[in-house]
């Protein structure tokens, strides 16, 4: 299974395009996951017993929805959400269309990671803030988020890497991307060159994100 350099040059525009498609899908879906998942994670945590927004009903409803979405295999979610995608994007193919399902899958994933990050915070610190007379919004902004920041960055890293893996399946709805290229050329057509090149790109991408995440998480931690 030799690598033919000629193939790479030949398909370089395709690889480039696939790379950008991957970036588009990940950026959009991560952006949405962050904007929706973060507040959702805060709600999942703060509605817990003994906390400032204690609410058993809200907690179980939110928890149920998050679990439900997370239990659906991504490939099924991708197909099931075609009508919704059509409604939002106006088309069901391409990276933008794939971003819809990716976002839906990433929201509960990230929200649960956010919740877990908050759980790692010493309850005493939240209690001290309550005793000082802080409002719930102050506790979120000045206690939960800063205290969980190193752990939240690890969560972001994990979400990004999972999104790269999920985005490979976006090919099913014509989403494109590096993973799709690997499947179409490498897997279906036994094109080893493309397979190796695309997998290498994915490896580098994942490594870079993981390293950057670890480094940032460490640098900002003041403990």
């Amino acid at each position: 299974m030799g690598v033919e350099w000629g193939r790479i040059v030949e398909l370089w525009p395709d690889i480039q395009q696939a790379f950008f498609e991957t970036l588009i899908m990940i950026s959009i879906s991560f952006g949405v996951a962050f904007l929706v998942g973060l507040p959702l994670g805060i709600l999942l945590f703060a509605t817990e017993r003994g906390l400032f927004w204690e609410n058993r009903f809200a907690k179980s409803v939110l928890g149920f929805i998050a679990n439900m979405i997370r239990s659906i295999p991504f490939i099924i979610l991708l197909v099931a959400l075609i009508p919704l995608t059509n409604l939002i994007v106006g088309t069901t193919i391409g990276p933008y269309a794939a971003s819809v399902s990716l976002s839906v899958a990433a929201i509960p994933f990230f929200a649960r990671l956010v919740e877990t990050s908050f759980r790692e915070i010493d309850k005493g610190i939240i209690e001290a803030a309550t005793a000082v007379g802080a409002t719930p919004m102050m506790i979120i902004k000045d206690v939960l988020l800063p205290e969980a920041k190193p752990s939240l960055i690890q969560g972001i890293t994990l979400t990004l890497i999972s999104l790269i893996a999920y985005s490979a399946m976006a090919g099913v709805v014509g989403g494109g991307g590096i993973g799709d290229l690997a499947i179409r050329f490498g897997y279906y057509r036994y094109d080893n060159t493309i397979m190796i090149v695309t997998v290498l790109i994915l490896i580098v991408l994942v490594q870079v994100i993981q390293q950057a995440g670890d480094w940032t998480s460490k640098i900002i931690d003041k403990r």
């Binding site: 010493d122 005493g124 610190i125 209690e127 001290a128 803030a129 309550t130 005793a131 000082v132 007379g133 802080a134 409002t135 102050m138 000045d142 206690v143 800063p146 205290e147 920041k149 900002i220 931690d221 003041k222 403990r223």
Partner: protein
């Protein structure tokens, strides 16, 4: 100032209902330092956490400066908490924020304008002796310094009450003393009422005016610290006192004593030794000191002597009566053979 009335706190666990605090009523006067001692599980921690409603009492009332906190709405309670400072055994500072920001946080909770926050934080840091640690993160501070930040944060909004939840239990003895000194200074200078809970009797002896002893969720003894030390009423209190002022005579020494063994206690500035020497001169008894010291509780001396009296039984009885007439408390530990 602070009135706790019939406060009960029960917890529902997997194994049934547990009563943490059982029908406790206490009144703490303004400007007082009130200590609550007890072993872990005695309910003292639950009790102090019920004062600022970190835990909601199952029944009973908590009045701080008149209003019953248990009747307040969420926002009213938050406002009330601004005036009730609290410090903790493990400090509970925001680890990702500087010393300055930790204290500023409390001021922002009260809606203090940014310009005033700066002045106030600097003044507080000056007061707790950490002016040079302004921009340092808690992780770089020692335990004592962290507690000083905790104190500065608790005092930020000029509270009338300061609750101390085992505030010195994680600190070494020297640091404990310096933190206690700081608390005493704050109490004197700012006239803040302090309630502290601890399992260390020396903390109470060092700074408290009055104290209560808790066991199984109940207050079993209460009074001025001096009086409790002078005449403890319960076995548990005696046990706690003996952890700081012990007059136990070793068993072999006790066995070798043939005369009457007594423990004499002089309160206030009664010149204990003078009275004893008077007694020895006036009566035909010989005295032999086995143990003794003058303890200072709240700067008031409390003299305790353990001694053996040898002589005719009648003379010994007269000598004891003499001591009692001179305001000493005499306890016969063992009669002579």
């Amino acid at each position: 100032m602070i009135e706790i009335e019939n406060l009960t706190k029960t917890y529902t666990t997997k194994y049934g209902t547990v009563t943490g605090v059982d029908q406790v009523s206490l009144t703490v006067e303004e400007g007082e330092i009130f200590g609550i001692v007890g072993y872990s599980g005695a309910g003292k921690s639950s009790l102090i956490r019920c004062i600022n409603l970190l835990e909601r009492p199952t029944s009973g009332a908590v009045r701080v400066g008149g209003s019953d906190l248990t009747n307040l709405s969420g926002e009213q309670l938050r406002k009330a908490r601004l005036k009730i400072g609290m410090i903790f055994q493990h400090f509970h500072l925001i680890s990702q924020k500087t010393v300055y920001d930790n204290i500023a946080f409390a001021l922002r909770a009260a809606g203090t304008p940014p310009k005033k926050i700066r002045e106030r934080v600097d003044a507080l840091l000056e007061m707790v002796g950490l002016a040079d640690k302004r921009n340092v993160f808690p992780g770089q501070l020692s335990g004592g310094q962290k507690q000083r930040v905790g104190i500065a944060r608790a005092l930020a909004n000029d509270p009338t009450v300061l609750l101390c939840d085992e505030a010195t239990s994680a600190l070494d003895p020297n640091t404990t003393l310096s933190i206690l000194q700081l608390l005493k200074d704050i109490n004197r200078k700012l006239n803040i009422t302090i309630i502290l809970i601890t399992h260390e009797m020396n903390v109470v002896k060092e700074i408290c005016d009055r104290m209560a002893v808790m066991q199984d969720g109940r207050v079993i003894e209460e009074g001025a610290v001096y009086d409790v030390f002078a005449s403890p009423e319960t076995e548990l209190t005696r046990e706690f006192i003996s952890s700081v002022v012990s007059f136990d005579v070793p068993e072999p020494v006790l066995a070798s004593v043939s005369g009457t063994l007594i423990r004499v206690l002089f309160r206030g500035n009664a010149a204990g030794e003078g009275i004893i020497s008077d007694m020895l001169q006036h009566y035909g008894v010989k005295g032999n000191f086995l143990h003794g010291a003058i303890e200072y509780i709240q700067e008031k001396p409390l003299g305790i002597f353990v001694m053996e009296l040898a002589g005719q039984p009648a003379e010994v009885t007269d000598a004891l009566r003499y001591l009692e007439n001179r305001q000493a408390t005499v306890e016969v530990m063992k009669y002579g053979r």
